[in-house]
C-alpha cells in the first residue's frame, strides 16, 4: 500500500477543440508521484503544464487514459463527483492568489470549511491553526487589499490546507512575487511536504523555485523529460 504511488497517470491524453482545430497538449503521458513528494513541473509556455495540473486536481478530465489520486480513479468520476472529491482532497494555489476581495483573510480561509459539517468553533480552531502555520495570525481580519502579495499568497495557501487535503497543486505560486516573498512561500511549501506529508505538484518557470522541490520534471510538446 505505502509503496504504491499516490498519483498514477497512465497513457493520459488531453485534447481541446478550438473551432475546427484540435489541440492535444498532452499525449499518452505517464507519470507516478509517490506520497509526500514535492514535485516541480517546468516547461515552455503552452506546453500543457496547467492542463496536467488541472487533471491531477480533478478540475478537468482526460480525453483518454487513466488517472489515480490516492485510492480514487478520477477518470471514473462524473463532474459533480469530482467537485465533491476536490472539496476534501485537493488544495489549489493560484499564481494570482484569487482571494475573494470582500472577505477577510479569516473568511477566505473559511471557505473550504463551509462545505463541511464542522461547527463554527471547530472551524475557528482549524482556521487559527492554518493562519499560524503560514505566519499570519495577526492578519486574520485584514482584507486582501490590505495585504502584500506575499501575504496574500500565504492566505491562499492557508485556504488550500485548512481542510487538510493530501494533495496540493500550485500553478506558478511565486510567479508574481519578489524574490524574498517567493523564497518564504517555497519554504512554506517545502515544510508542508516534509512536516505535514502533503504531496505537492507545483508548476513553475523559475529554476530557483524548482530547486526547492524534491524532483523536477520538464514538459515539452506533451512529453515529460527529466
Amino acid at each position: 500500500m505505502s509503496d504504491s504511488p499516490f498519483i498514477k497517470i497512465e497513457q493520459v491524453s488531453k485534447s481541446f477543440q478550438k473551432g475546427k482545430a484540435t489541440i492535444t497538449p498532452l499525449e499518452n503521458l505517464s507519470l507516478e508521484v509517490p506520497r509526500g513528494e514535492f514535485l516541480a513541473l517546468m516547461g515552455p509556455s503552452g506546453s500543457g503544464k496547467t492542463t496536467l495540473l488541472n487533471l491531477v486536481a480533478g478540475i478537468d478530465s482526460p480525453t483518454s487514459g487513466s488517472l489515480w489520486v490516492g485510492e480514487r480513479e478520477l477518470t471514473t468520476l462524473k463532474r459533480g463527483q469530482l467537485t465533491k472529491w476536490r472539496a476534501s482532497h485537493v488544495g489549489y494555489i493560484f499564481q494570482l492568489y484569487h482571494l475573494v476581495p470582500i472577505l477577510s483573510a479569516y473568511e477566505n480561509i473559511e471557505l473550504p470549511l463551509l462545505l463541511t459539517s464542522l461547527s463554527k468553533r471547530d472551524r475557528r480552531t482549524r482556521i487559527e491553526a492554518a493562519l499560524d502555520l503560514v505566519g499570519l495570525s495577526n492578519r486574520a481580519t485584514h482584507r486582501p487589499t490590505e495585504l502584500s502579495g506575499g501575504q496574500e499568497q500565504r492566505v491562499a495557501i492557508a485556504r488550500a490546507i485548512v481542510h487538510d487535503p493530501e494533495l496540493l497543486v500550485a500553478d506558478e505560486p511565486t510567479g508574481d512575487l519578489d524574490r524574498e516573498s517567493a523564497d518564504s512561500i517555497l519554504q512554506l511549501l517545502s515544510r508542508l511536504s516534509k512536516e505535514h506529508g502533503k504531496t505537492i505538484v507545483m508548476v513553475t518557470h523559475d529554476p530557483r523555485a524548482a530547486e526547492a522541490a524534491d524532483r523536477t520534471l520538464h514538459l515539452e510538446k506533451g512529453k515529460l523529460t527529466r
Partner: protein
C-alpha cells in the same frame, strides 16, 4: 445560514447597484401593493356574504343619490312587511356624484333611530347625545375625521351644507367610517330636496335566508306606485351602483401585473450582471469544491434577499401610505375606503420572494454554465 451571510456580503460588495435594484423592486412592489389594496378593499365591499342581512331600497332605474327619490312615508309600510326587523330612511348628499378620490358623503338619518338601527356603531370621541340634541350636528366616521383632521366641536362645510361635529364613530362596516351622519330633516332642508323625500331605505331583515323574499315583497308593494322601488342586498347594490368605479379598479389589475413583470426583469437583469461580473470568482469557488448546486443556491439567495428587502420596503411603504392618507374612492355616493390590510402585506412579500426566486433561476444556471478550465484560463 453560513451561505446566506455569504450572499449578503456579496450584495454589499456593490452597495450602489444593490441599493438601486432594491429601490427599483420597492417602486414596483409599491405599485403592486397599491393596486392590490384597491382590489382587496373593493372585493370586501362587494363580495356577496352568506350572512348578509341588509337590503337597500332604491328608486327603480336610478343610479345616483341625486336622482333616487323616494317618499319618506314608505318607511312605516316597509316596517310592516314580514321578516323586516329595522328600517331606516336615508337622504344622501355628496359633493361629487362621479368617481372621485375625495368624496364627502352626508347621510341624513333620523337621529334617534340611528343607534337602534345600527347598534354596532361606536362613538369613539364626542358623544351621541350631543348629536341628537343639535339639529346641525354630525357624527363622522373615523377615516373621514382623520383625513380631514376634524375633532368634536369643529365645524365644516361641504356642498353648501354647514355642520358641527358632535362625535366620531367607528364601525365594522367600511361605509360608516367614511361618511358624515346628519339629521334627516336638516339635510332635506339644507340640500333643498325638501322634507319627506329620501334617497333610499336601508332594511335589516330577521335572517339571511329571508333576504330575497323580503326584497321581492318590498318591490311588489310599491310596484303600482308613482315611485317604484328596486331592492337588493347591500353588497349587490354596491356592485351594481358603483359599476364604473369597479370596472376602473379591475382595470388597475393590469398595472399590478405590469409592475410585477418589471420587477422580474429588473432583478433578473441585476443578477445576471452580478453573476457575469464574477465568473472568475465563481470558478475559484468551484475549484475549492463548491458544487454547481451550491453556487446556484448562493445566487438564488441573493435574488431572494433583493426580493425580500425591496418587497418589504415597497409593500410596507404602500401600506403606510394608505394608512396615513385614508383614501376613499367614491362613486355615486358610495365610498370604498382604501385601507391597508395584512392580506395584502403577506401577499406582496410572498410575491416579492417568488419574483426574487424566479428572477435568479436563469442567472443561477448561467453562473456555472462555462467550463471551469475555460474560465480559469482566461
Amino acid at each position: 445560514m453560513k451561505f446566506v451571510s455569504l450572499a449578503l456580503k456579496n450584495l454589499l460588495r456593490n452597495r450602489l447597484r444593490t441599493l438601486l435594484t432594491v429601490f427599483g423592486v420597492a417602486a414596483g412592489m409599491f405599485l403592486f401593493a397599491s393596486v392590490e389594496t384597491m382590489q382587496y378593499s373593493l372585493s370586501t365591499a362587494t363580495r356577496a356574504r352568506a350572512d348578509e342581512t341588509t337590503l337597500v331600497v332604491y328608486r327603480e332605474n336610478r343610479f345616483c343619490p341625486a336622482t333616487s327619490r323616494l317618499p319618506e312615508h314608505y318607511g312605516p309600510v316597509i316596517k310592516e312587511i314580514e321578516g323586516v326587523r329595522e328600517v331606516i330612511p336615508i337622504q344622501i348628499a355628496v359633493n361629487n356624484c362621479g368617481a372621485s378620490l375625495d368624496v364627502i358623503t352626508f347621510r341624513g338619518v333620523p337621529a334617534e333611530t340611528l343607534q337602534d338601527y345600527n347598534p354596532e356603531l361606536k362613538t369613539i370621541e364626542g358623544s351621541y347625545a350631543d348629536f341628537t340634541k343639535r339639529s346641525d350636528a354630525a357624527l363622522i366616521g373615523q377615516h373621514f375625521a382623520r383625513k380631514r383632521g376634524l375633532n368634536p366641536g369643529d365645524s365644516f362645510e361641504a356642498v353648501g351644507i354647514n355642520v358641527s361635529v358632535a362625535g366620531i364613530i367607528a364601525s365594522d362596516s367600511p361605509q360608516d367610517n367614511n361618511v358624515a351622519y346628519v339629521h334627516l330633516d336638516f339635510l332635506q332642508q339644507a340640500s333643498r330636496v325638501g322634507l319627506g323625500v329620501v334617497t333610499q331605505f336601508n332594511v335589516k331583515v330577521e335572517s339571511a335566508d329571508q333576504l330575497d323574499a323580503v326584497a321581492d315583497q318590498i318591490d311588489e308593494t310599491f310596484r303600482a306606485d308613482q315611485q317604484p322601488t328596486h331592492t337588493r342586498p347591500e353588497n349587490a347594490f354596491f356592485a351594481e351602483t358603483a359599476k364604473q368605479m369597479i370596472e376602473l379598479i379591475s382595470f388597475t389589475r393590469l398595472l399590478g401585473i405590469g409592475a410585477v413583470a418589471a420587477v422580474l426583469g429588473l432583478v433578473a437583469n441585476a443578477l445576471l450582471l452580478i453573476v457575469q461580473g464574477r465568473t472568475r470568482e465563481t470558478a475559484i469557488f468551484q475549484t475549492i469544491g463548491f458544487s454547481r448546486y451550491r453556487i446556484s443556491q448562493l445566487v438564488i439567495s441573493e435574488g431572494l434577499l433583493i426580493g425580500l428587502f425591496g418587497g418589504a420596503l415597497g409593500v410596507g411603504s404602500a401600506l403606510f401610505f394608505f394608512h396615513w392618507n385614508a383614501f376613499t374612492l367614491g362613486n355615486e355616493g358610495l365610498t370604498i375606503a382604501l385601507s391597508p390590510s395584512q392580506a395584502v402585506l403577506l401577499k406582496g412579500i410572498a410575491i416579492s420572494l417568488a419574483l426574487g426566486l424566479l428572477a435568479s433561476l436563469y442567472p443561477a444556471w448561467k453562473a456555472t454554465s462555462k467550463p471551469l478550465t475555460q474560465v480559469l484560463n482566461s
